[in-house]
């Protein structure tokens, strides 16, 4: 039986399970989010990094990293743990590598390996919830508790890191770099399809500009739907007008314009967005 949030909290409060620095903010409906701990290791850097003092762990495209959790975990012999990367990191292109389970009786901090399969550097700041731990109660206590080499681990040791390959996975790096190199061409190919898709829309927009002088006399300040080169609907609320138009004509090409002399302007003063458009 997988423990739900209240059961996880009870298990921690009763001391059955230890999850150090327990925070209710990390409780999920049936799991507990583990946070980035003090120590990380990036293959390309080749050394253990103190994330708390040196700043976020930066995982380059194609690189492999080990991240030690902030939480120290202790499981009884009738509970097993499983964990996975939080979906936001999966969507960013990270893939977690780990053993199949956290054995009953394990005690220590967890170490999660991640590979960055994206073309962007992913930053992992200290104490960011990055993976989630599921706890499952077993039908009975196991006859023995975990007694492997990672029992009691609280630091990334040389023994742990020396087992890793000497450099980032060459095939992954090569593929990611090649994809990044050809992506501008792919974008160009994408734009080749736009004239066909935008053709009707552009025609409707031109029709709106042609109709505007007359519309300014009769419908100034209102929104107008132009379809088939004609003004077909008017209204004050643009979204309501759009819904009405799509209900009436189906979701297809049309132009909705504000009957004013100047084109509508929107302000997006977000510096990040401006920089990316420049």
């Amino acid at each position: 039986m997988i423990l739900v949030d209240e059961e996880i909290k009870e298990a921690v409060n009763s001391g059955e399970v230890e999850l150090s620095d327990f925070s209710k903010e990390c409780l999920q409906p049936a799991s507990y989010d583990l946070r980035v701990g003090e120590e990380g290791f990036v293959l390309s850097a080749g050394r253990v990094i103190n994330i708390q003092t040196e700043g976020p762990l930066e995982i380059q495209p194609g690189d492999f990293a080990l991240i030690m959790t902030h939480e120290k975990l202790r499981l009884p012999t009738n509970i097993v743990g499983r964990f996975g990367l939080r979906s936001m990191y999966a969507r960013m292109g990270l893939l977690a590598t780990a053993g199949p389970q956290v054995d009953p009786g394990f005690e220590g901090k967890l170490v999660i390996g991640v590979v960055n399969f994206s073309s962007q550097t992913v930053r992992m700041p200290y104490l960011t919830p990055f993976c989630t731990l599921e706890l499952e109660r077993l039908s009975r206590h196991s006859s023995v508790a975990y007694g492997g080499p990672y029992q009691g681990q609280e630091h990334l040791t040389d023994e742990l890191t020396k087992m890793l390959p000497k450099e980032p996975f060459p095939l992954a790096v090569m593929l990611i770099r090649q994809l990044a190199a050809v992506s501008p061409s792919l974008r160009h190919l994408e734009t080749l399809t736009l004239p066909r898709q935008l053709g009707i829309f552009e025609q409707e927009r031109e029709a709106f500009e042609r109709l505007k002088p007359e519309l300014l006399k009769t419908h100034r300040g209102q929104y107008v739907v132009v379809r088939g080169g004609k003004a077909v609907l008017f209204g004050q609320d643009k979204t309501k007008l759009a819904r009405q138009a799509y209900e009436q004509f189906g979701y297809g090409p049309l132009y909705i314009g504000l009957v004013e002399k100047a084109r509508e302007t929107v302000h997006i003063p977000t510096p990040r967005a401006s920089r990316r458009m420049a």
């Binding site: 314009g257 929107v266 458009m277």
Partner: protein
């Protein structure tokens, strides 16, 4: 409903989990963490997302950036946005490379930003 700030921004920034859905085909949808930006007049979506959802252009805006600097024209489209289990049709422009929730959507929500705890809460559902 609460969301942790995204620590991939420096400093951490408030984000909301949003499902964006095509109006033509409800099976076409993407779920993303959107940056909350009260400075943005309108919601922005990357072109690739609009394309993937089959968003039909419906309007054209002039986009102004910091200090009113012109950033050129951008087409908009209407899509369905699901936030905290509430669905709403809203307009978004094809602009930039991340989802930015602008005031055309934010003004329909009651939000509480708890900066020290890096937590954003939606106090109640959309109108």
């Amino acid at each position: 409903m609460s969301y942790q700030y995204d620590h991939n921004y420096d400093p951490p920034a408030p984000v909301i989990r949003v499902t964006v859905r095509s109006l033509a085909d409800s099976h076409k949808q993407v779920m993303v963490d959107a940056l909350v930006d009260t400075g943005a007049d309108i919601t922005c979506l990357p072109k690739a997302v609009v394309k993937a959802l089959g968003g039909e252009p419906a309007s054209t805006y002039s986009v102004a950036g910091v200090n009113g600097t012109s950033l050129g024209p951008a087409n908009s489209c209407f899509l369905e946005f699901e936030i905290a289990s509430t669905k709403k049709v809203a307009e978004a422009i094809s602009f930039g490379d991340e989802l930015i929730l602008g005031r055309n959507i934010l003004n329909e929500l009651t939000l509480q930003l708890d900066g020290p705890a890096c937590k954003l809460s939606i106090m109640f559902d959309t109108k």
